[in-house]
């Protein structure tokens, strides 16, 4: 069985689960862009809203934090890098490096904004079926000339669907190598090559099988258009996201 990642869709009946995916796409784009110019207070305000939707969607905030610990580590490095590079009033100085008050503040704000954008994406992906994402992409790309929207949509859907399978394959290959003392290999380049080559081979073979399976079920670009699910509350959410975006920018 494929493992669930924090970004995997989880079944549910919350309002976010039932909302039209196009509306969710619009909201996520609007709020993420507003976040660029939001101040710290506004970010905290948005964080509280996100926590509310976390609970509403049936997601466990602390369990999610545990599973994205490496991302949080990355944010910590961003914070440190900012703290060390932004000029301002010096707080500490050691080995020629200085940490400034402005650096700390700016580092925190930038890391916090990244964190919020990532949480927004996480709420979106765990309440939205990948097939709906595919349908929305197809819908948004339709008016653009010379873009094969149906093909792009299927490619996105397959990529999303196969991520956990590829990750599970990589784990199996890694385990098989460990079983033959592969972890004693100290050269990181050789380690990567030993993992990547069989993984690529397996992935291409799987892709080949998938193409045959799709072809045998009459796949073509000329397919029926996707159906969109609607909760009837999209208009309120759209209006709410516009107000929220304005608040993020103005507060």
């Amino acid at each position: 069985m494929a493992n669930l990642t924090p970004f995997t869709y989880r079944q549910g009946q919350s309002i976010l689960h039932l909302l039209d995916v196009r509306c969710k796409f619009f909201m996520i784009c609007l709020v993420s862009m507003s976040m660029l110019s939001a101040h710290l207070f506004a970010c905290f305000f948005y964080f509280l809203i996100l926590l509310f939707f976390f609970k509403k969607s049936g997601l466990n905030f602390f369990a999610t934090m545990t599973s994205i610990k490496y991302f949080i580590l990355l944010l910590f490095f961003i914070f440190i890098a900012r703290a060390l590079t932004v000029k301002g009033d010096i707080l500490f100085s050691f080995y020629g490096m200085t940490i400034t008050e402005q650096g700390l503040t700016e580092g925190f704000v930038v890391a916090f904004k990244f964190f919020l954008v990532m949480l927004t994406g996480l709420v979106f992906s765990s309440t939205t079926q990948p097939s709906s994402v595919k349908s929305a992409v197809q819908w948004f790309l339709k008016p653009i000339p010379f873009v094969l929207e149906k093909r792009v949509a299927v490619m996105i859907s397959l990529a999303l669907g196969f991520m956990p399978i590829i990750a599970s394959q990589a784990q199996k290959i890694s385990d098989a190598q460990k079983a033959r003392c592969g972890d004693l290999q100290s050269n990181p380049v050789k380690k990567i090559i030993h993992l990547v080559l069989p993984l690529l081979r397996k992935t291409f073979l799987s892709a080949d099988s998938l193409v045959l399976a799709m072809e045998s079920r009459c796949y073509s670009d000329d397919r029926i258009d996707p159906a969109f699910m609607s909760s009837g509350k999209e208009i309120y959410f759209l209006a709410g996201s516009v107000v929220l975006s304005l608040s993020l920018v103005c507060l």
Binding site: Y9, A213, E215, S216, I224, A227
Partner: protein, 250 residues
């Protein structure tokens, strides 16, 4: 007398690297038959099956499905002849069990309401309806195989081909898939099963075709051929070895 669904006339196929897949195969398949296509690995079983629904086209010879040349009527052929592949994981396209079954009908541009009705019906028939919102990747081996069957069955094919349907399945999974295949045959579907292990299914078969080196070596009633299976690299069922004839699996 049942009508022929498939007529194959002297087909040959050589791959681009020069490897000969199948040679000079001529055979007819009638409605309602339950055929085992047996042979050791590399004997040409899968290559042969892939010709029957146009995934591969022969270099020479002709395949007629319901009176139409396969090479000229690919969509019609694939609606008539469904294929369930060996590895269930690599043929999953949908994010949920429901979407996976709906995939074929969406390709055929069937109306959305009709799709919903047909998919629900098939899922209920195969006892998968309670899983309709689950991710296919989280199902058990037997359930995945049944899902693959549902994805084909919803397109209403007359003939269903299975490539090694019992490989990598545990005993309950094997029984689950076996009973589904038997039910399909009893409800009028023609069945072809490619396998190198005939013990599971031979009791239900009405005909067995043995392949070796890309050619058909034997074609006939299982009872007449069962004692010669091992000369083609196919294991003879235990019951037959013990002189008990053909016994049901399980």
């Amino acid at each position: 007398m049942p009508k022929n669904i498939i007529d194959i006339k002297s087909i040959c196929h050589t791959f681009s690297d020069g490897y000969v897949g199948i040679q000079n195969i001529s055979v007819s398949i009638s409605q309602g038959e339950f055929i085992i296509l047996a042979g050791k690995n590399g004997s040409g079983k899968t290559t042969f099956l892939r010709h029957l629904n146009g995934l591969l086209l022969p270099d020479s010879g002709q395949i007629i499905v319901n009176g139409h040349d396969v090479s000229k009527h690919l969509i019609q052929t694939r609606k008539t002849v469904g294929m369930v592949f060996q590895d269930a994981d690599t043929q999953i396209v949908g994010d949920t069990v429901f979407d996976e079954v709906a995939f074929g009908l969406e390709n055929l541009k069937v109306k959305r309401q009709k799709i919903n009705e047909k998919v629900s019906l098939i899922l209920k028939d195969l006892n998968l309806f309670h899983l309709k919102n689950r991710s296919p990747f989280t199902l058990s081996g037997g359930e995945k195989r049944k899902l693959a069957i549902a994805g084909i069955l919803v397109m209403n094919p007359e003939l269903i081909m299975f490539d090694e349907p019992f490989s990598n399945l545990d005993h309950p999974g094997t029984i689950q898939v076996l009973s589904t295949i038997i039910d399909l045959n009893r409800s009028g579907h023609t069945i072809i099963i490619a396998t190198h292990d005939v013990e599971t299914i031979i009791c239900e078969a009405t005909r067995i075709i043995i392949m070796k080196d890309g050619r058909i070596k034997e074609d006939g009633n299982p009872l007449d051929i069962i004692n010669r299976l091992e000369s083609y690299g196919v294991r003879e069922p235990c019951s037959s070895k013990l002189g008990l004839g053909i016994k049901p699996y399980g």
